[in-house]
Structures are given as structure tokens and as C-alpha cells.
């Protein structure tokens, strides 16, 4: 005997939304499904995904267990050349999947030129450009060296880096110090001011921060980020709370360990005047957590989303170091005065690692102050976060959304769900000018492009 007649009807309406009116008017519980067909993947990969379903589920469970168990701690600093695996004098690390000098976008070329000037390997722009193209300089993705960099993401051998260690599993991730907004290297600017600032960061900021961190022993980044989410950050496009918390943790130690009072003042003012100082650390914390799931055979969890300004790249826990790429789109953005979408470079930076770890655009519901980027209403931000639960494997155990009754943020993108539901990861981002040397022109949001996810799915289930 059927139970259909015994219980009040409760309906999932997939398709014509007008059919839902009858349920609303008749007081029947129902939910609308705004259906769209899945992404087009090969029939063979689809069949294989079905065959392997149980195996993949088990692998993903393990991947999520590890990602959620991660405890990223800031434990120290050092020089890129001394710390970053594989770093050498003629190597520059960059954001996103691998890219040659010829195919680099404007802002990344600008970053490379700036880094060569900063390293003293070239005297002027022209010389730097020539050297960059000469074959003497090698390029490699930050992600292939346990590092992450925002926007152009250039890390050169002399740059100081933070060391973030996952205390649960022992893996380590690196990131540079954030330069601030405006004309900065990561947005492709390479003027005299830019290089001067980088030098100051190396010779003044670094030693002060290094000493302060040593004094403190370690800073628990996961807890700090969790608190920042309660204070209105999503730690990608808004880092005001996290930077404040970081500043609060660091300031007494800086005062205590710095002999020269003016230097302490300069360092504190530098951090205080840059709302995004924490961004690089939120990225390293995210990277550190996701590294723990690297190499789990069969897992369809995305552990890297990253852009080099030309291409958008994805890596899966279950496909080793292989990159799956597609063209990087231009973000929908709000532009600074004097700039338009025509000036914008396609999406760039390793910072989508925050979304990959359940932060940034995935946690935008926690950050009402920046909902202007997504249409201006708190409701829009909530709906974006809610949509990301559709494509994730878990809810975060530590990062929470206050306005969703402290529900854990959607964490761990399952490429199967992205393909099946045709819902693409939602990413917060800054926008660089497409020409080298100009810098940031706006900030906004975008949906990841479909191609890398289609290729990743087909790669995993080939």
C-alpha cells in the first residue's frame, strides 16, 4: 500500500515555476528547482563516473576529513630563495597554471619586469623585458612550489615569505607580504615607487615581522579567520577584520622586539593602512589546508583554482599535479573612476584558493559590507553562498556564516556536482588593468569558466 495518500503533499517543482503557484495558494510546502542541464562531458567519462561512484565517494570523504582537520599556523618568515622548494636565482614564480613569457598577460608581464628590477637583474624596463624574454629566466606556478600569490603572484628569490604550517599533517605553504592597494607589483605596476616599496618591505618590514612572530611563537590562522568571518570578512575581497585581528596579535610583540621606535611606528602604520594585509595569509592558510588532500586517488575534490590572467586552471585531489585549464574570463566589476570593463584584464591570481577552501565568494554571505559587488542586497550574497552548498562536499567545521544560523561555509568543490548541476564556483576578485605598469582598476565577482571543470571531470574519469 502506498504512503502517498497518507501524508500531506510536499513537492519539489522542477521546471515551470508557474506550477508552484498552485502549491503556494493551496498552502502546500514546495520548493522550486531552477533546472539547467549539466555541462557537456564525454559519454565515456560520464559512464566511468557512474561505475566509480562509490570509490570516489570514499576518496572524497577522506579528502574532506583531511581538509577540515587542517590547522594552519603562521610559524615564521624567511627568504624565498632559502625556503621555497625548488626556488633558484633565475626562477620567478607566478600565479595560475604554467604560462610562457610570450603568453603572459599585461599585468603579469609588468610584475615580471618589476621583479627583475627589484632583484637588480635589470637596470630599466627595456632591459628587464629583454631579459624576461631571453630564456635565461625560468617561470613556474607558485602552486607547484607550495606557494600562493595574489593577482600576478610574482615571487622572486629575494622576497621575504611567511611560513604557514599545517600542524595536523606537517605540510607547509608560503606567501609574500601584501604590498597594499593601487600601483603595486601584484597588479602589474613596476614604477620606481613599487620597487622602492618592495625594498623597504624586504629590509624593514620583514625583519620586524620576523622578530615579532618569533616572539609570539605562532599565530593560529584558522581561528583568526573564523573570528574574521563573524566580523564581516570573507577574507578574499574583504580582509578588514582579519587584518585588524592580525594587527592586534602582532602589535605588542612589534613594540617589544623593535629597538627603533620610528621603525615600529612605520611598520605598524603600513599594516594599519592596508585592509588587505591579511589576504596573503588567508590564501596560504587555504593552500595549507587543501595540500593535505593532494594525491588521494579517485577523489573528485578540487584542491586548486587559480588564474594566470590568460588561463583559469584547476587541480583535483585525485589527478596529481595535472592542470586542467580554459580561458580566463573578465570579471563583472565595479571600476575605479576613469576605468571601464575595456581596461580590465581577464581574471588573475592564486587568490581563488580561498574559494577552493570554502572562503571568499563561497562565504560572501558572511560579508554584508561587500554585497555591492553582487547586486547590492544582503539577499543576493546569501543566495550566492547557498548556491555553493550545491557543489560542495561538506560544510566547514570552523568557518561559519552568522546569518545562516552559523552554518559551516560550503567547503570542498566536487567536480562531479559542478558538471552535473552546471553550477560554477563563485569567485570574488580584484581587477588589474590589462596593460603592464598601471595597476588595479576595480573589484568584482565572477563565475569560474566551465572548460577547466569539464576537462578535470574527463581527466579524472578518462
Amino acid at each position: 500500500m502506498t504512503d502517498l495518500f497518507q501524508r500531506e503533499l510536499s513537492v519539489v517543482n522542477i521546471g515551470l515555476s508557474s506550477f508552484k503557484e498552485s502549491f503556494d495558494r493551496n498552502g502546500i510546502k514546495s520548493i522550486q528547482v531552477d533546472f539547467r542541464p549539466g555541462l557537456a562531458v564525454s559519454g565515456k567519462s560520464k559512464d566511468n563516473s557512474k561505475t566509480l561512484e562509490a570509490q570516489v565517494n570514499v576518496a572524497n570523504e577522506e579528502a574532506m576529513k583531511r581538509i577540515l582537520a587542517a590547522r594552519p599556523m603562521l610559524i615564521g618568515m624567511g627568504r624565498a630563495l632559502d625556503l621555497i622548494p625548488g626556488m633558484k636565482k633565475n626562477l620567478l614564480l607566478h600565479a595560475g597554471p604554467p604560462v610562457t613569457w610570450e603568453r603572459m598577460c599585461g599585468p603579469m608581464k609588468g610584475g615580471v619586469i618589476g621583479a627583475l628590477l627589484y632583484e637588480g637583474l635589470a637596470k630599466d624596463d627595456a632591459q628587464a623585458e629583454k631579459l624576461a624574454a631571453s630564456g635565461e629566466i625560468e617561470y613556474s606556478p607558485c602552486h607547484e612550489h607550495s606557494a600562493v600569490g595574489p593577482m600576478a603572484g610574482i615571487i622572486s628569490p629575494s622576497m621575504p615569505v611567511f611560513v604557514v604550517k599545517n600542524e595536523t599533517f606537517g605540510n607547509v605553504a608560503y606567501c609574500t607580504q601584501n604590498e597594499g592597494l593601487g600601483k603595486v607589483l601584484r597588479y602589474g605596476a613596476y614604477g620606481e615607487d613599487v620597487v622602492k616599496r618592495l625594498k623597504w618591505m624586504e629590509t624593514v618590514l620583514f625583519p620586524v615581522l620576523h622578530a615579532a612572530i618569533q616572539k609570539l611563537g605562532r599565530i593560529d590562522l584558522k581561528t583568526l579567520i573564523a573570528q574574521a568571518l563573524h566580523m564581516g570578512d570573507e577574507v578574499h575581497n574583504r580582509n578588514r577584520a582579519a587584518t585588524s585581528l592580525f594587527y592586534r596579535a602582532l602589535a605588542p610583540a612589534i613594540v617589544e622586539t623593535t629597538q627603533d621606535r620610528q621603525i615600529a611606528v612605520d611598520v605598524l602604520n603600513f599594516i594599519n593602512s592596508n585592509d588587505h594585509f591579511f589576504l596573503n595569509l588567508s590564501m596560504a592558510a587555504a593552500k595549507c589546508a587543501l595540500q593535505a588532500a593532494e594525491g588521494i586517488s579517485h577523489s573528485s575534490i578540487v584542491i586548486t583554482m587559480s588564474r594566470n590572467g590568460t588561463e583559469f586552471g584547476v587541480q583535483l585531489a585525485g589527478t596529481g599535479s595535472k592542470w586542467f585549464t580554459g580561458p580566463a574570463p573578465v570579471p563583472d566589476a565595479l571600476y575605479f573612476k576613469g576605468y571601464t570593463k575595456d581596461d580590465a584584464n581577464p581574471d588573475i591570481g592564486d587568490s581563488a584558493i580561498t574559494e577552493t577552501a570554502g572562503l571568499g565568494g563561497f562565504a560572501i554571505a558572511a560579508s554584508p559590507a561587500i554585497v555591492q559587488f553582487v547586486g547590492g542586497r544582503a539577499e543576493d550574497a546569501l543566495n550566492y553562498t547557498l548556491q555553493m552548498y550545491e557543489i560542495t562536499a561538506a560544510e566547514n567545521n570552523v568557518y561559519q556564516i552568522p546569518s545562516l544560523d552559523f552554518r559551516g561555509t560550503p567547503t570542498g568543490i566536487d567536480v562531479r556536482k559542478v558538471v552535473d548541476k552546471n553550477i560554477l564556483p563563485f569567485i570574488d576578485t580584484g581587477v588589474a588593468h590589462k596593460k603592464p605598469g598601471i595597476g588595479q582598476v576595480g573589484a568584482g565577482v565572477l563565475s569560474a569558466p566551465p572548460e577547466p571543470f569539464i576537462r578535470a571531470f574527463e581527466g579524472l574519469f578518462s
Binding site: 502517498l4 513537492v11 519539489v12 498552485s22 493551496n26 528547482v33 546569501l382
Partner: protein
């Protein structure tokens, strides 16, 4: 070019909000240049450089907001300034969070106790979604068409193996636990259970039953192909079982085109064992087929509905055809026809009505009577169903009204959920125009309609019927009555044989 600026003292907006409004402003046609910024020294300098500064702006401090616009005239600039200030005001709207999901499993997270999925997406995606719903333990109403018969069979076998009901594909109508699904009406609840392989058929019988004072326990749709040989009536037989075992169902009414022989045999076997009265309307079937089954077979939907009502209420229902007034009006209408008016035009939105009407017109003389189903694929490609979009039928109504040989227009109008929510403003002017056209040519054109619906429907049947009658339309209580009336007019005018 005229530059205008407004300074809002001490008004704070975060920079992103300012950028949003600035974007809005710069996109307006006629805005030559604009700025929405806090009056910091740096910004004031920029404004001066752009020629957007005014003495007010120069005097403003860094906690003041400046909105500046350059346009062709002062009036234009003032207008843009007002728009920008309006856009900066708070934009609270009612929060509607999480009421739309993007997938079935997303929906089930919000509504974990869901027990039915209503699926109306394009056919090539529909069967995969139906399968997922069944796998999640949901009953399914599959409204979508263009699902292959192989997929239908697979889905139905899977559903029945899980004790679940799959209504469809191409199932337009069902009423479960009193809730109208897709194209269905608000009807009285009661003790008559309906199994229907035809959507319009189900709407006609459930509304006739409700309007006659009885009610519906459940109306289960199966999709038209269910009773074919390939599917074997899986859903039909399953629904029959459900209703036989349902204590709230005391009378059963079965509606379908004639099933495949083997399927009918299985249906009748169940009927034979059933202790409850069973009425069957198998449109166009030979009544001999049902002999000995214990089923009361009727030739029309109307008769099926009324037989079920009589069985449910235990008292007779009066038929329109037994009403002397019915015949009087036929005489009145017939007398108005001219000798050129010989043929009937049935213009339908419900396919089942076409079958019923064709059956009732059998044996009529004359070879140019026409009955058209506007719900047929050839009319619906690239446009909504004719129950929602009247365009094509309206056009045809006006064309037919101009033809001297047309004697009667026979139309249906289906109300309820899924149908046009406000049909009169689109239909009435066309009907009046049709009558005017005929009149201008010296003819009288009778329009006979049935209105399928109830007063509980969002359109309210009485309201619609009253308005139609006010326009001179003859409204019959059912399609069968309307068809008989039309035939009566033609036959009485004696001109169908000329």
C-alpha cells in the same frame, strides 16, 4: 556642457556602494561625465581637473559626499543628480532566501520531507531527473513530453519496483490529496477516485463531478502512452490498485482512449475483483469490450462523471439533454441560420475534447465539418500551450466567422492551474468581433462553448460563464453537451443535408 554637483554633508557610504552608483550614473545616456565620491582633497583635485567642481564642492570636507554630473543642459544634469541620490538611498527589499534550489538534491536539503517531484523540463533531460527523484524515494509526476517509450518503460518498471508512482510522461493533470498538480482544478474533496490516461479528460470529469456536488479523493494521471502495448499499463494498473485499497475512495472512474487489448484485459481483471463501483470512459471504444467486467461503460466524459456522481451520492443527476430548455434554445438558434450556413467548426485547446466531439458528431451529414486540436504538435512548436496562449485559435475564430458556410463555432475554455489566469480580456473581444463580422455579412453566428473549471479555481467559473453569456455565447455545462447542442442546431436547421 553644464556641470552640476550636490554635496551631502556628513553622509557616509562605503566605497563599493559609491562605485555602484557611479557605474549606474555613467551608464545613463546623456551623462557626459560624472563622479560619486567622498570630498577628500585628492578627490576634489580630480573633480577640478575633470571640470566637475563647484564652489560647494571646494568647500566640502572629507566626511561629505559629492555627486557631480556633466550633461548637455542644467535640467538634464539636475535629473541625473536626483537619480543618483535616489539610488544611494537604502535598498531594503523583502528577503527571499533559499526558496529556489538549483538541483534536486539541493532542494531536498531544504525540503527533506518532500514526497513528490513535479517535472516539467525539456524532455531530453526529464527522464534523468525523474530517475533521480525516484532514487530519492519521491513519487513523480512527469509533465514533460518527448521522453522515449523505452525510457518511459524503464522509469515505470523502476518506480513500481520501489513502490513509487510515476505519472507521465506527458501527464498534464493530477489531483493528489486535494492538491491540483500542473494543469488541474480546485475541486471538492470526496469519495470518487479517478485514473486518467488523458489530461483534459481528467480535468473535465473532476470539474463536472465537483460542480455536480460530489468530490474527488484522488485523480491520478498516467500519461497517454501508458495503456499502449509497450508500457502495458504499468501506472494505470498501479493507480487502480492504489484506489482499490484507498479507504477514502468509494467509487472509481477510469478515463482513457481505448487501451491495447492485452492492457484492457488486465485492467478489467482488476475491475472484476474490485468491490467498489467502477465506471469507465474509454473514448471511442466498442462497448462490447466491457461486457461481463462489472464496469459501467460510458461513451462520454460527461456521462462517466455523472454516473460516478450518482454512484457516490446515491441519487440521480439531471442531464442537460433531458432539459426542455436545452431543446428550445437549439430551436431558437437554428431558426436564425441562413441557408448558406452548413458546417460546424470545432476549435479546441484540449485534445481529449476533440475525440469526444468527433464521437458525438458521428453519422452527421455533410463533409466539411472541421474539428481542430490547437494543442497538437504542429501548432505548439515554439509557442506555449493554447490553454495559455490564445493567439492562434483567436486568429482562426475570426477567419471562420467570415466564411458564409460556417454555421456554428464550437469552442472549449479550460480554467484552473496552468491555464490562462485571466482569459476574458483576450477571448471576449475576439468572440464579439467574430459575431460582428458575421452580422456585418448578414449572418447570425452561434458560438457554443464549454468552460472546464470550478468556482474555486483562480479564474472562477461562474464569473467567466456570466461574462461569456453576456456576450451572447451559449455556454454548456460540459463539452459533450456543447457538442450535442451544436449538432442539434445543425440538424434542426435541416441544412446539413443540403
Amino acid at each position: 556642457m553644464i556641470a552640476k554637483a550636490t554635496v551631502k554633508k556628513g553622509e557616509y557610504h562605503d566605497s563599493v556602494a559609491l562605485m555602484r552608483v557611479a557605474k549606474l550614473l555613467s551608464e545613463q545616456a546623456g551623462v557626459l561625465d560624472s563622479a560619486v565620491v567622498m570630498a577628500t582633497d585628492e578627490n576634489k583635485r580630480l573633480l577640478r581637473g575633470a571640470g566637475l567642481s563647484t564652489p560647494d564642492v571646494n568647500a566640502a570636507g572629507e566626511s561629505d559626499l559629492v555627486v557631480a554630473v556633466a550633461a548637455a543642459s542644467a535640467e538634464l544634469a539636475d535629473g541625473f543628480l536626483l537619480q543618483a541620490i535616489e539610488a544611494l538611498k537604502s535598498r531594503h527589499r523583502e528577503l527571499k532566501i533559499g526558496n529556489v534550489a538549483r538541483s534536486l538534491d539541493g532542494a531536498l536539503k531544504t525540503l527533506p520531507d518532500a514526497n513528490l517531484a513535479l517535472i516539467s523540463i525539456a524532455g531530453r533531460y526529464a527522464s534523468a531527473e525523474a530517475r533521480k527523484a525516484l532514487e530519492n524515494g519521491l513519487h513523480v509526476m512527469l509533465f514533460s513530453d518527448n521522453v522515449s517509450i523505452e525510457q518511459e518503460l524503464e522509469l515505470k518498471q523502476f518506480a513500481s519496483s520501489r513502490g513509487l508512482l510515476l505519472m507521465g510522461p506527458d501527464c498534464g493533470t493530477a489531483i493528489i490529496n486535494g492538491v491540483p498538480l500542473a494543469f488541474a482544478n480546485n475541486v471538492n474533496r470526496g469519495n470518487i477516485g479517478v485514473v486518467a490516461a488523458s489530461g483534459t479528460g481528467a480535468q473535465e470529469v473532476t470539474t463536472l463531478i465537483s460542480n455536480a456536488g460530489a468530490g474527488i479523493s484522488q485523480a491520478i494521471g498516467t500519461g497517454g502512452r501508458d495503456v499502449k502495448k509497450e508500457i502495458g499499463g504499468i501506472s494505470f494498473l498501479q493507480a487502480l490498485d492504489y484506489l482499490i485499497n484507498d479507504p477514502k475512495t468509494e467509487v472509481l472512474l477510469l478515463v482513457s482512449k481505448p487501451p491495447h487489448e492485452a492492457v484492457l484485459k488486465n485492467i478489467l481483471e482488476k475491475v472484476k475483483d474490485c468491490k467498489k463501483p467502477v465506471i469507465g470512459t474509454f473514448l471511442g471504444a466498442n462497448p462490447e469490450l466491457f461486457k461481463g467486467s462489472g464496469m459501467v461503460a460510458t461513451a462520454t466524459l460527461e456521462e462517466g462523471a455523472y454516473k460516478a456522481v450518482e454512484s457516490a451520492l446515491g441519487k440521480p443527476v439531471s442531464r442537460t439533454s433531458g432539459n426542455p430548455r436545452f431543446h428550445e434554445v437549439i430551436e431558437i438558434e437554428a431558426a436564425k441560420l441562413r441557408s448558406s450556413q452548413k458546417y460546424l467548426r470545432g476549435l479546441y485547446t484540449g485534445g481529449t475534447f476533440v475525440s469526444e466531439t468527433l464521437f458525438l458528431l458521428q453519422g452527421m451529414k455533410g463533409d466539411q465539418h472541421t474539428v481542430i486540436d490547437f494543442g497538437d504538435d504542429e501548432f505548439t512548436i515554439g509557442r506555449p500551450h493554447p490553454m495559455i496562449d490564445f493567439t492562434l485559435r483567436n486568429k482562426r475564430i475570426l477567419e471562420e466567422a467570415e466564411k458564409p458556410e460556417v454555421a456554428v463555432l464550437l469552442l472549449d475554455l479550460v480554467l484552473g492551474w496552468g491555464a490562462h489566469m485571466d482569459p476574458l480580456p483576450e477571448l471576449l473581444p475576439v468572440l464579439l468581433e467574430a459575431k460582428r463580422k458575421a452580422q456585418a455579412a448578414g449572418r447570425y453566428l452561434p458560438i457554443v462553448m464549454s468552460v472546464t473549471g470550478t468556482d474555486q479555481d483562480p479564474q472562477n467559473r461562474t464569473k467567466v460563464v456570466t461574462a461569456l453569456r453576456g456576450a451572447g455565447v451559449i455556454v454548456a455545462p460540459s463539452n459533450a453537451s456543447a457538442a450535442r447542442f451544436a449538432r442539434g442546431v445543425l440538424e434542426l436547421s435541416g441544412k446539413d443535408s443540403v
